[in-house]
């Protein structure tokens, strides 16, 4: 049997790691000629690190569940194999292959027309809200805020103070690294913006009116309307407040649907991320990627695994288990899935929002470039900078990080 490894991070809990190992065991028993070893590799960042180490060490895994935003860099560094040949061997074109997946996912999967990442589990930001608090504040839970203005208005009603102390917040969202970039770009997109050049890895649009509007919103939520706590909060703080019934609305990933469902004791619902100009959110989550340096058999076996993992059945199963939505459109054709959506209308909302989703950060030096923005947004949230200045600085820092690439590519004719 061909022995290959699957590297997988576990973005939620230990149970998922177990489930992943169960899935692989099932795959192995269904494919006697392939032996997949599932390798838990920590967080997305550590998975990235470990994958690079494995590639350098000459023992790459045949498939990695990689944060979608990292893949472009593997392409730039020439460390990843496109799936095109393997797809062609099945008699399909890349476009035909990708057709099974939601259109919103194509942006991160296809690079220069080649399939580098097969979407595995995906998410978008989502607005969660507490029904009881809505009712207490005289808001209609059936009509959640759809625009920024409504959101601010609702948030003000949802915020309760006792002297200096806030007992209940109107809005919270995770603002730690990674999450913050994702949410900021969601707000930017809702403001009609486009935060990176999807066709060129050396360009981001930070110092723009749409981004400024998004930042102003965040700034005002904290300092003008005081409906959101100052500083940086991680997902734990946000969910703790939400579970404690002391938070009106929160932005959190669709990937957390199961988690919230299991732990929230009060009625809650979800809605689209409020818009200013349009409804739009970025895709998040991970794709399956195939590093360079594998034998032909391993590639084939890896692709077999990838196809199996993204098949409608497995995709649907994993979606129901985790809360991520299934990237394979056909997963939703099954009866099981239909029943599930009826039972869980929140999952349906998430799916509906997918129609408005766009692709997720992918540039040269992705993490650094993203952090350049995040550091500045955090400064705004901490009251250290005003939004306009923050964006200028973020743009400058990002440009500096991408300069080597820009000089070697877009500006190269000068040399």
């Amino acid at each position: 049997a061909t022995e290959i490894q699957l590297f997988f991070p576990v973005p939620v809990q230990g149970k998922l790691a177990n489930e992943m190992e169960n899935l692989v065991a099932r795959f192995n028993s269904e494919h006697p000629d392939i032996k997949v070893t599932p390798v838990y590799t920590g967080s997305y960042d550590e998975t990235n690190l470990k994958t690079r180490a494995a590639i350098k060490a000459g023992q790459p895994p045949a498939a990695v569940i990689m944060s979608a935003s990292f893949i472009l860099e593997y392409v730039i560094n020439g460390e990843v194999e496109p799936y095109d040949e393997l797809i062609a061997a099945e008699g399909k074109t890349p476009a035909e292959f990708m057709d099974d997946f939601w259109p919103a996912l194509h942006g991160n999967a296809l690079i220069d027309g080649k399939v580098y990442g097969v979407p595995f589990h995906n998410s978008t930001p989502l607005l969660y809200y507490n029904v009881r608090l809505f009712e207490e504040a005289g808001l209609d839970p059936d009509n959640p805020p759809a625009t920024w203005a409504e959101w601010i208005d609702a948030a003000q009603k949802l915020t309760r103070r006792n002297g200096d102390k806030v007992e209940q917040w109107g809005v919270m969202m995770p603002t730690t690294y990674d999450y913050l970039g994702w949410i900021t770009s969601a707000l930017n997109m809702s403001n009609g913006g486009q935060y990176y050049n999807q066709n060129y890895a050396g360009e981001v649009y930070y110092d723009t009116p749409t981004m400024l509007g998004a930042l102003n919103l965040l700034h005002d939520m904290v300092f003008e309307y005081k409906v959101m706590p100052e500083g940086v909060n991680d997902a734990n703080s946000v969910t703790s407040a939400f579970f404690a019934g002391q938070l009106g609305t929160m932005i959190l990933s669709t990937g957390s649907l199961s988690f919230v469902r299991e732990n929230m004791k009060e009625p809650y619902r979800v809605a689209f991320v409020p818009r200013n100009v349009r409804n739009a959110v970025p895709i998040g989550g991970a794709s399956l990627m195939m590093p360079k340096g594998l034998s032909e058999e391993q590639k084939k076996a890896g692709f077999e695994l990838v196809k199996w993992l993204t098949s409608p059945e497995i995709s649907g199963h994993w979606s129901r288990f985790t809360g991520y939505f299934a990237p394979n459109r056909h997963a939703y054709d099954s009866d099981e899935m239909k029943a599930f959506l009826v039972e869980h209308p929140d999952a349906k909302v998430a799916l509906d929002q997918l129609a408005h989703a766009g692709s997720w950060f992918a540039t040269y030096n992705t993490v650094g470039v993203r952090k350049a923005l995040e550091d500045e947004v955090q400064a705004v949230l901490s009251g250290k900078k005003d939004p306009a200045q923050a964006l200028k600085d973020a743009q400058a820092a990002a440009d500096a990080l991408m300069r080597p690439y820009v000089e070697a590519t877009a500006l190269s004719y000068l040399n």
Binding site: P11, S123, Y179, T239, S240, F242, A244, G245
Partner: protein, 278 residues
Amino acid sequence: MTASRSGSPRLAATILLVAVAVIWVTPFAWMLIASLRPDAAGGADIASLIPSAQSGFGNFVDAWQSGNFPLWYLNTAILCAGVLAVQLVTITCAGYAFARLEFPGRQAFFYLFLMQLMLVPPILIVPNLITLSKFGLYDTLVGVMAPYFASAFGVFLMRQTFRTIPRDFEEAARVDGASRAQIICRILVPLARPGFIAFAIVSVTAHWNEFLWPLMVTSSPSNRVLTVGLASFTRSAESGSQWGLIAAGTLLVAAPLLIAFVLFQRRFVSSFVFTGIK
């Protein structure tokens, strides 16, 4: 009668120490209580130190079932024992050389050794992984151990310990006709036992608790160690944490060391006393 000496200042100091100790132990107390509390994912009173009425071992059961704890314990034990076993040989030899032999360049060699203290694996991950895979040690427990087989800290500790042993013993042994190897094995090593114990504590604690390096070197589930296993409970990317589960998992991982320490606390402390660190 004893009042003036052990009076108020001493009492005040004791009270202060106890107060600080309470602060020190609170996280553990919380961890214990939270691990017994069902549904501890969040909520207003998650921080309460008052055990919940429906305490139970549900989180431990969940944690235990979420991973292959027996295997992880075994691997971690092998890792610690393996590292320690080889270290004991290397640090004995080198510690003896630095403590007892006068050779040209001794000081230079010693500083060369001490460099290791500063060059921790996070700095050297990539080159070390390449080296390991050249030796076919990538994704093996031996690969996790190998960079630690030499220990500057251990050499330093043993040098200090050997130095506290009067030379008389070695000279008596030489007169008795013992060879250098016999002197080291039969005289110095037994006499330096407290030093070895102290080093063993440091070494085992470090490797039992290490995370990043074993995560990088091993891939196969069969080579997974406790911390890497634990990480699957404690890490979260897109949502909140299951505190009860985390607490239970952490306790499972730390339990062997904690228990060993509580049982042998006096011996541990006194072995540090005799290492010649002063």
